[in-house]
Symmetry: C2
Subunit: 542 residues, 2 copies
């Protein structure tokens, strides 16, 4: 006694009803070919997730309704369950709900409204949706199935209520974004929810990237005893057919757990690929400096888009070490990407000439370093404008945190793949990438030499910043865990360092507010996940 | 039979417990000198509004508690009511509430938790706060007073419940941000709430600017018949003592209504002043082009900060008309600001030389225009870095909407005063400013000549954009009212124009995401108020 269920782990594009409808129709087709009783799609699959303020537009919601009608026609001899935002009368008002729509016999036969609306971290669902108040039990091939949407399954009561009202299994529609460690949390939670209710669970997750968010797929099926019986691929689309047993299965599997570097690297690749492709760019370019950040960014870009769609530009100045040029050229050659050198000497000099009267008698300071970074920014943007390829910014999270980056200079770009990657993780990822079968892509010297912005003679990052292992540890506690300076000092870190780091993180909010989006991989990424005031006197020296 | 109430319409700084505590203590002092029975402060006055994710930091909340203890000491012979975020046990959990704290006899004697938490437009209160569930009635000099916080008074039931449970008057703590037309809405709502419950209302509003938001003050008092009996100044701090009658007053006043241009202009001035001063900049600089946007921005900056704290820089190129230089110099002279000219010809040429090989054989296009704008951006940022004055971006809302601006070029800057001001309103404000007593500040020709970016020969804005009166009308309907292309066309606008405008607004989200913050003055400003995906295929041609 089992049900044949297809899980459609697909990659919609926000706002593309044509593309998304086609993906959904194709998946229904495949599920029918696999003789599935039902096909389960992720949360808000019809619009993509999150559609944000597009949800306020009546014309957008009309398109949702029209697309649902188109899809319903295909729901013959199969039950289709998919997520969409839908308006419904509720207590005399037209309200918007995050719905699971059940389509069968060419029409919508049931709608379930999400009961728990996340409004924390990157989520703003209470901005858009009203809360559902009723359980849903639908019947498929004689079996009673409880429907839940994402956050619902993280709470105890909706699953319990479904069981009490007769559900024999739970189907969960999800748009659950990736971060390092999330997969293990999901596995644990679902096993628990299944075993405490003695119900099998089919968990369908979205796949693909949307601005800052990567949805890692990895849809799951558990039997009634909390045993994993199916785990879909991570970071890949597909329609997967599973026989759902209603009791303890004899076919339990061990979960596949990616190591940390592998899953982060893959998330970054997917983030770049989908941002570039979904926004219609013919490729990307980046400034390759001979340093580790741009080296790793190049490797990610090539893995995401292919060498022929990536260009690297080295823009030397007289502080650029010879080995920087050698290493940059070597990586470009190894990776097979178009590589150019454009010196910024004459450009820098033209700025200094134009400013000579204004700067007369004033000390050299960070201004001159910024002019170098901004000359490179203008050159890269000019190349990007002329050739149509999008510029990638190469800064990492440690720099973004400390403001160790130049607005409109090295921060220029449409997307910042390493924005949420601490510098120590950048090294881990570079070593991970070099360990793969295709060998040493990033020259070893790029990984081993001391990092430098090369904006002043003999400059090293550690002249301005604490050593990265200390810095990143402090940043993680301060940013991700909300620890205070006292808390962090109590763990053995120097007070002066910790206070300086904390103050710089708070002070540099203005820079981050003008930065490009990047892939979220941690518990607390800069972007929608972390909303700080720019104007704020909250510091440790006050 | 009346109460003596002081309203403390003060201007806190987010996160500055020292500054805010001092402001609060000073206001208590003044209220005591005025023999007030009670002093009413605005919502979250202790932290400033909105403190955003600082509210997640336990150390921040400890500082709130410590500051409250300091303030309580001064609450002797007077009742102090002030807003602060406070943790409290609730159903076995420690939760955070948006509280009104009542201090008397040196201690906190009562706490009221806001019941309606706005989570729309610029507000994210459900991200931070739990919902209060209980009414509060406190006694002051023998009178029963119901406490409400901001959103509570916009709903019918909290005031009604307060009345039913014996309140003789309502005290409302607010952090109600300005937009054009908001003042009239508040006056109407409060008059209605007062008359339908036959209760006097004391409405204390915050004053001052915080990033995108301006709080306009204009605290209000109504008698039990819904008649206005006190209206505090707009855009100004102060502690105002009012005798609150408990029945119909014979001293009703007519509300002061600022005209639209006056209140918008004052909001922009306050926004710039507070952003610059609260962030500790010694002044501002801006690129003065001879066009209307930078001319108005200069006038605002001088009114906000004084001429000696403002510098204007004209950066001519060979497309710059002679009259642009004349008009820019004239305004700078009239306004008494430091004025410089720095030509960008040699800088532009050095970029073109460096790119000559790469651009060989390729057509001139928008790239070369962007290089001009970005050369200016780098020059202005260099001056800003060297002299410490913050750069103001001068773009308006019509440009921001259409992407008619250069990232890292004219979009460079720490604050963008006109970001939410449509071009047609820019003209209205320029004429308004010139109509004031100190005469024609903005040269008349700047107002009357056709607008041009002067990035190509004989360029006019209307070569690329619809006429501004049409453009702004379409933008307003599309952005602020969520109207569809069909809706707008039905009102007599050309379909091709409307569809092009709608598509460009949606397409240019990526530019706006990297723009500086600016003062919100409309119903739907770019920024926290309007959250659109960058990656989105929602267009009208699809």
């Amino acid at each position: 006694m089992s049900l044949s269920i297809s899980i459609a782990q697909i990659n919609p594009i926000v706002g593309s009803f044509k593309h998304n409808t086609q993906l959904i129709l194709d998946a229904i087709q495949q599920a029918k070919a696999d003789k599935a009783d039902a096909v389960l799609f992720p949360e808000l699959v019809l619009t993509g997730y999150p559609p944000e303020d597009l949800l306020f537009r009546p014309a957008f919601l009309l398109k949702v309704e029209a697309a649902l009608d188109d899809i319903a026609v295909a729901a013959i001899d199969i039950t289709v369950i998919l997520g969409a935002p839908l308006r419904q009368r509720y207590q005399d008002k037209n309200k918007l709900f995050n719905m699971a729509c059940v389509l069968r016999d060419g029409k919508i036969i049931h709608k379930y409204a999400k009961q728990y609306l996340p409004n924390y971290r990157v989520f703003d669902e209470k901005r858009y949706f009203s809360k559902g108040t009723e359980n849903a039990i639908i019947e498929i091939a004689g079996h009673k199935i409880g429907l839940l949407i994402c956050e619902d399954i993280w709470k105890k009561s909706p699953a319990e209520n479904a069981r009490v009202t007769g559900a024999e299994a739970l189907f969960v529609l999800n748009a659950s974004p990736f971060r390092a460690g999330k997969s293990a949390e999901r596995l644990k939670l679902l096993a628990q929810r299944s075993s405490e209710n003695q119900l099998p669970i089919v968990y369908a997750n979205l796949q693909g990237a949307q601005d800052e968010l990567v949805f890692d797929g990895e849809s799951l099926v558990f039997d009634a005893a909390g045993q994993l019986i199916f785990q879909a691929p991570t970071f890949e689309s597909g329609v997967f057919n599973v026989n759902l047993p209603f009791k303890k299965s004899t076919k339990a599997i061990q979960p596949r757990i990616q190591n940390k570097e592998e899953c982060i690297y893959n998330a970054l690749v997917l983030g770049v690929r989908d941002y570039v492709n979904k926004n219609g760019f013919p490729g990307v370019m980046l400034g390759l400096s001979g340093g580790i950040d741009s080296a790793l960014t190049l490797a990610i870009a090539v893995d995401a888009l292919g060498a022929k769609n990536v260009e690297a530009i080295m823009m030397p100045f007289h502080y650029t070490a010879e080995i920087s040029k050698i290493d940059a050229a070597q990586q470009a050659k190894t990776q097979g990407v178009n590589y150019r050198e454009i010196a910024i000497e004459s450009i820098f000099n033209s700025f200094m000439d134009a400013l000579s009267k204004e700067f007369d008698g004033l000390q050299r300071d960070v201004t001159e370093e910024n002019i170098q970074a901004r000359s490179r920014g203008v050159l890269l943007m000019a190349m990007s404008n002329k050739l149509g390829k999008m510029l990638l910014a190469t800064g990492n999270k440690s720099e973004m945190a400390m403001g160790y980056a130049t607005l409109y200079g090295d921060m220029a770009g449409g997307y910042a793949p390493l924005k949420d990657v601490f510098k120590t993780t950048v090294y881990d990822l570079a070593r991970y990438r070099n360990s793969l079968a295709d060998g040493e892509i990033i020259p070893d010297r790029v990984i081993t030499r001391p990092p430098s912005a090369e904006l002043a003679p003999d400059q090293k990052d550690e002249d301005s910043l604490p050593p990265y292992d200390i810095l990143d540890a402090v940043l993680r506690m301060f940013i991700e865990e909300f620890q205070s300076v006292d808390d962090i000092v109590a763990q053995g870190y120097e007070r002066e360092t910790v206070a300086r780091v904390a103050n710089l993180v708070l002070l540099n909010e203005y820079k981050r507010r003008q930065s490009a989006p990047g892939v979220r991989i941690t518990k607390r990424a800069f972007g929608k996940d972390r909303r700080y005031p720019i104007t704020s006197h909250y510091r440790w020296h006050l």
